[in-house]
């Protein structure tokens, strides 16, 4: 008996680790590229909220999950573009812009939610759901936990090797890294610094927003304005832990997914601790993980530094 219960618990923890990792990892993958090219996007939190809200509202009104995800993509690209125009073209402070975007996107989502739904929090029927992968899903214990997930989960984890290859094996990836390290040299070599940065921030906006959309449409099937709860900032931490390398970022994301899964497992297992107390733990965990694993000396040299042609590079 105990054995069956134990393996069921392990399977549940694995499944919920993967589900919890997905939105954070998705946002972190885009941010990996943005930071590598020199852009620190503190607007991720707001972009995730906006993605969650827009996808949910559109999916509910048009009764179509596809249009839900599509609208999240449009919103994410738009917010990424706004961040890009302000920080790349107008060269203003990335931290101020990021905070402003988060405040704006978060409150705009809360505002529109209240305008459209009043005080109600409808549930989107037909959202969530899983896609079983044949054969693999029949592996004992882990099969159902890993290979019976929402399609966005597979997409996110499939992006890890793709984005790794793009970063380290292609000319585009080389340019992204060059632009973040020494934009002056990259420019001299004929790379359009600002264009590369626009590409990466658009990717970052897209993935952050889709991460939020996954939470609303793939995981929870409802929207409340505070549902992201700092996951956008956690994504930024994951990028730092992962040293701007998609594979390591994936491990970092899983670490936090695991922390979140343990949090909910502790609640389900009925350990006699208040859930409010348990909910503090992932955030403390972030600080401890940062302390143990990061070396800030490895930051991309031009992070947060706007590039202006003809200036002396400093």
């Amino acid at each position: 008996m105990n054995d069956i219960f134990g393996s069921a618990l392990i399977a549940a923890i694995i499944a919920s680790t993967i589900r919890g990792t997905t939105p954070i990892l998705l946002a972190a993958l885009g941010e990996t590229y943005a930071e590598r090219s020199g852009l620190l996007n503190l607007g991720i939190e707001g972009m995730m909220v906006a993605g969650a809200f827009s996808s949910f509202a559109v999916a509910l009104n048009l009764n179509s999950l596809f249009y839900g995800f599509l609208s999240a993509a449009v919103v994410g690209l738009t917010l990424g573009l706004v961040f890009g125009i302000l920080t790349i073209t107008l060269r203003v402070n990335q931290i101020v812009v990021g905070l402003g975007l988060t405040i704006f996107a978060h409150s705009m989502s809360s505002f529109l939610h209240r305008v459209i739904f009043g005080n109600q929090f409808p549930i989107l029927f037909g959202a969530g759901g899983t896609n079983e992968i044949p054969v693999l899903a029949r592996i004992p214990i882990i099969g159902q936990a890993i290979f019976n997930q929402h399609w966005m989960v597979y997409l996110t984890f499939a992006m890890v090797p793709v984005l790794y290859g793009l970063m380290y094996k292609t000319r585009f990836g080389l340019r992204v890294r060059a632009v973040g390290e020494t934009p002056l040299a990259a420019d001299a070599a004929g790379v359009n610094v600002n264009r590369i940065r626009y590409y990466t921030i658009l990717l970052g906006g897209l993935t952050a927003s889709l991460g939020g959309a996954f939470m609303a449409l793939g995981d929870l099937a409802f929207f409340v304005p505070d549902m992201i709860m700092g996951r956008g900032y956690i994504a930024i931490v994951v990028v730092m832990l992962g040293q701007w390398n998609p594979f390591k970022v994936c491990w970092g994301g899983l670490l936090f997914g695991f922390a979140l899964a343990l949090t909910s497992a502790m609640q389900v297992a009925g350990i006699n601790i208040s859930p409010d107390f348990i909910l503090m733990l992932p955030y403390l965990f972030v600080i401890v993980a940062l302390l143990l694993f990061t070396r800030s000396t490895n930051l991309p040299s031009s992070l947060c530094v706007p590039y202006k042609r003809g200036a002396d590079g400093k």
């Binding site: 975007l101 405040i103 996107a105 505002f111 931490v237 107390f277 600080i287």
Partner: protein, 339 residues
């Protein structure tokens, strides 16, 4: 009037233009959702500034904004980003709500008042101590750590107020009610509590500290160039801790004032999110203490008016935060036109 330097007015003009742009964009958003923006804004003014109730409420709400801004001034002036004022505010407020009913019985009123305010300050400082030390020692990004501590605080105070410090005599999760005679006194002849004066003093003292003292000078050197500060022999690690502790202390003080003067107790789900307002505000003020005063008045008016109008016109009060976010973005953009 003729001594006014036109160049000195440019920053003020850019801040005002940012606010105007955000109001105009806000008006367009209202149009899109089918509300009449002129009606909304005229009602906002009528409710927020046209009645004595509105004006009083607006002025009362300036207190926490000014106190928190005073703290943000000191850390932003040193290039340190305390984004987690919410957490420090809540810890200060929670400690006050928990300790005030006990201390009020034990101490004479003036000493009690000072003790409770100091407790709030200490709470805020303790809450930022870990991020401050980690920043100074290990160069951990304080944006992330202060934010994370803020989430920890939100959950911690909810847990404490439901259990260990709960007033068992009441049903909702809250601390014991502070008797009316032990609240913060009002300014004579008004309903406005003395938090306003505390706010003004904090603000001007911080402004003076930054502009006129050695510590403030060292902060400004740190903001301009950390390496230069280090080469000049300044103890950057210690300055980092000081700058962040000051900002955390003020946030805790604001929490203490709000509990002592307005709430009278601490509730678990109470979080006024002043950080969302104070951070844009301090940027708009361009780290100038004097400029914070009219801006706190304006943002406080928006918040109070927004709450009133929300009931009349069915425009959710979140709209005010939308305006604040846009103001910050327009302000950021205006930086470009200064270069």
């Amino acid at each position: 009037m003729k001594n006014i330097n036109l160049n000195a007015l440019k920053p003020a003009a850019l801040s005002i233009v940012s606010i105007l742009f955000s109001l105009i964009t806000g008006g367009i958003i209202l149009l899109i959702i089918g509300k009449d923006p002129l009606h909304y804004f005229s009602l906002l003014f009528a409710r927020g500034l046209g009645t004595s109730l509105g004006v009083t409420e607006t002025i009362i709400k300036m207190a926490p904004l000014m106190i928190i801004s005073a703290g943000l001034l000191s850390c932003f002036s040193a290039g340190l980003w305390n984004i987690g004022v919410e957490g420090q505010f809540l810890i200060g407020a929670m400690l006050t709500g928990w300790a005030a009913p006990m201390l009020s019985a034990a101490l004479p009123y003036p000493i009690y008042l000072i003790a409770v305010l100091l407790l709030g300050i200490t709470g805020g400082m303790v809450w930022i101590l870990i991020p401050a030390v980690l920043k100074a020692r290990a160069d951990l990004n304080e944006i992330i750590t202060t934010l994370m501590m803020s989430w920890v605080a939100i959950n911690l105070v909810t847990w404490l107020v439901k259990g260990p410090i709960n007033d068992l005599a009441t049903v909702p999760a809250q601390t014991k009610l502070i008797p009316l005679i032990y609240r913060m006194p009002p300014i004579p002849f008004t309903r406005i509590h003395i938090g306003l004066i505390i706010g003004l003093i904090s603000l001007l003292a911080t402004h003076w500290m930054i502009k006129r003292t050695t510590l403030g000078y060292q902060f400004r050197v740190m903001l301009a160039n950390k390496k230069a500060a280090r080469h000049a022999g300044m103890n950057v690690a210690r300055l980092t801790v000081y700058g962040l502790l000051i900002s955390g202390g003020f946030a805790g003080l604001a929490g203490a004032c709000d509990v002592l003067a307005i709430k009278g107790l601490f509730q678990g789900n109470w979080n006024p999110q002043y950080g969302m307002t104070a951070i844009p505000l301090v940027f708009l003020a361009r780290l100038n203490g004097w400029a914070v005063i009219p801006l706190s008045f304006f943002f406080s008016f928006l918040a109070v008016g927004g709450e009133f109008v929300a009931r009349d016109l069915d425009v959710p009060a979140f709209f005010v935060h939308v305006l604040e976010g846009m103001t910050l973005l327009f302000f950021a953009a205006s930086e470009y036109f200064e270069k």
